[in-house]
């Protein structure tokens, strides 16, 4: 267990009377890609936000490389450098060009020289086919390009693990593919990834393990073949049926 890159132990989280995470325990190993699936409001985003210390958990432990980062009062900023996060609504800073978006955190947090980080950023942009958009403002980009830029921005901090929260669900169907390609590429390079997604096909193809959340409970963890082929829980079955009925009809 202690060899896990990221390890969630009995996480609990409530908003007022609403329990959003109910005793969630899961490990993510180095280089592994774990998908979180589940209905709307099942707590996927909240769980990811908690891992990145954007929301404090009520109870339980979050271990990063065996260190409990959820100790109350723990300084979140160094932790966040190691954990990159990308959101559903692309969240680029609209008043900065793509390159400025990418350079901001390395310059202000890591205090890197502008020149060094520019080189590194351009290399990243090039790798993800965005080099020609470096000096463009986000509102001139398509959703897919914005989302890829947001991923590059997170990568520029050289995180050890990436959290991706439904990074394709605000995209037009045609643009989904290019973002999923980026995720495949990240996985191929050995990045540890935890992602919440509604793209069942993609989850099935790419993930090492899939977690099914329902109303804040982690009902089932299984390899994708098992999860999509022969889910154990009735609720998992029911959820998959409903979603797949429309997504995979053809």
């Amino acid at each position: 267990m202690s060899d896990a890159k990221l390890s969630l132990r009995n996480i609990r989280k409530s908003f007022g009377p609403l329990e959003v995470c109910k005793n969630i325990t899961v490990d993510v190993h180095k280089g592994e890609l774990v998908c979180l699936i589940g209905g709307s409001g099942s707590g996927k985003s909240t769980l990811l936000r908690c891992i990145n210390l954007l929301d404090p958990i009520d109870d339980g432990e979050i271990l990063l490389d065996g260190v409990d980062i959820s100790v109350p009062g723990f300084d979140p900023d160094p932790v966040r450098r190691k954990i990159g996060m990308v959101f559903q609504s692309f969240n680029l800073f609209p008043h900065m060009t793509v390159l400025e978006n990418i350079k901001l955190a390395p310059m202000k947090v890591k205090r890197m020289a502008s020149r060094d980080i520019t080189e590194q950023a351009e290399a990243l942009l090039d790798r993800f086919g965005l080099l020609d958009k470096a000096h463009v403002y986000p509102d001139r980009l398509s959703g897919g390009q914005q989302q890829r830029a947001a991923i590059v921005r997170a990568l520029a901090m050289e995180p050890e693990i990436m959290l991706l929260d439904e990074v394709t669900s605000a995209l037009d169907p045609e643009l989904v593919g290019e973002v999923l390609d980026v995720i495949r590429q990240l996985k191929a390079q050995g990045m540890t990834l935890l992602l919440a997604t509604h793209e069942m096909g993609f989850a099935r193809e790419v993930s090492d393990r899939v977690c099914f959340l329902s109303d804040g409970e982690l009902l089932e963890i299984a390899p994708p073949e098992k999860m999509f082929g022969a889910p154990e829980h009735a609720r998992t079955q029911q959820f998959l049926e409903r979603v797949l009925r429309t997504q995979n009809l053809s």
Binding site: D77, R80, F93, L104, K108, A150
Partner: protein
């Protein structure tokens, strides 16, 4: 227009049914608008002078001789309004930003600052500007300050700065709060500190977003500079008042109104334009 466009694309086409109709409709509505506007204006021009008392109105309010005699002096008095305005505006901007940030403080140790900001904003927003001007502009110099530190110009401007910094602090606060939580999350998740987030991510967007409101408040400020005349400075309103007494005629006030119209309408239009642009962006 449409035809030119077609030609420009190298495909001269006969006007379509819609184009023909729209051209006709446009002509017709232009005609109707022109005719009805002309009729309305003609009615005004013909009927108003026939109204009983129109001559009295004209003599009292639109007296050409008085206007010609007073306007140059009014205009030069207006430069004082402008000087006071340009002296106060930057101070207001900086003070308002400081107060807005104090208002937003979350660290308990800094709580007195927050408390101060809340009281500051509340008190100065609730009191009529003219009262603040009387209190500060008359009151403080009365405390035994020596010239030049008892100048009504200084303390009048201070009164305006205090009053408007409270208003504009609220504008900034609204701007800061209008920046979506997700922008903050994104900044924090990159490891930016609270202060860096504010400085590089939130404030630049917030200020940009409130620019139209700021312009409107600047227009209000320019108009309220006129209130300083009540504590001494002979700016355009007071100058008009002096002429009004002298000529027993309201035309100098009309002259002052014209000066304000010319000075503020472009700014108001600019604010409207910025606002419309932002709205268009938001709904796109």
């Amino acid at each position: 227009m449409d035809n030119t466009q077609n030609t420009a694309r190298g495909k001269p086409r006969a006007p379509t049914r819609r184009q023909a109709y729209e051209q006709k409709a446009r002509r017709k509505s232009l005609l109707i608008a022109a005719v009805s506007s002309a009729a309305a204006i003609a009615l005004l021009v013909v009927l108003v002078p026939m109204a009983p008392g129109w001559e009295a109105v004209q003599r009292s309010f639109f007296n050409w001789n008085v206007l010609v005699k007073t306007f140059p002096k009014l205009l030069s008095a207006f430069t004082l309004d402008l000087i006071l305005f340009f002296a106060a505006a930057p101070a207001i901007f900086i003070l308002a930003l400081v107060i807005a940030l104090m208002r937003n403080v979350t660290r308990p140790a800094l709580y007195p600052l927050k408390l101060f900001a809340i009281v500051y904003i509340d008190v100065l927003r609730s009191i009529p500007v003219i009262l603040t001007i009387y209190l500060i502009g008359f009151g403080i110099p009365g405390l035994g300050l020596l010239p030049p530190w008892n100048s009504p110009y200084i303390w009048g401007s201070v009164a305006l700065v205090l009053a408007y910094s409270a208003y504009i602090a609220e504008v900034f606060r609204t701007g800061i709060e209008s920046i979506h939580e997700s922008q903050r999350s994104a900044a924090r998740s990159l490891g930016l500190s609270e202060a860096s987030m504010m400085r590089y991510v939130v404030l630049p967007q917030a200020i940009r977003r409130v620019v139209p409101t700021l312009v409107n408040f600047l227009v209000a400020l320019l108009k309220d500079v006129a209130l300083l005349s009540f504590i001494g400075p002979v700016e355009v309103l007071r100058q008009a008042g002096v002429y009004k007494s002298l000529f027993a005629n309201f035309t100098p006030y009309v002259g002052a109104a014209i000066i304000f119209l010319v000075a503020t309408i472009p700014a108001i239009r600019f604010a409207d334009y910025l606002m419309a642009k932002q709205n268009a962006q938001r709904t796109r």
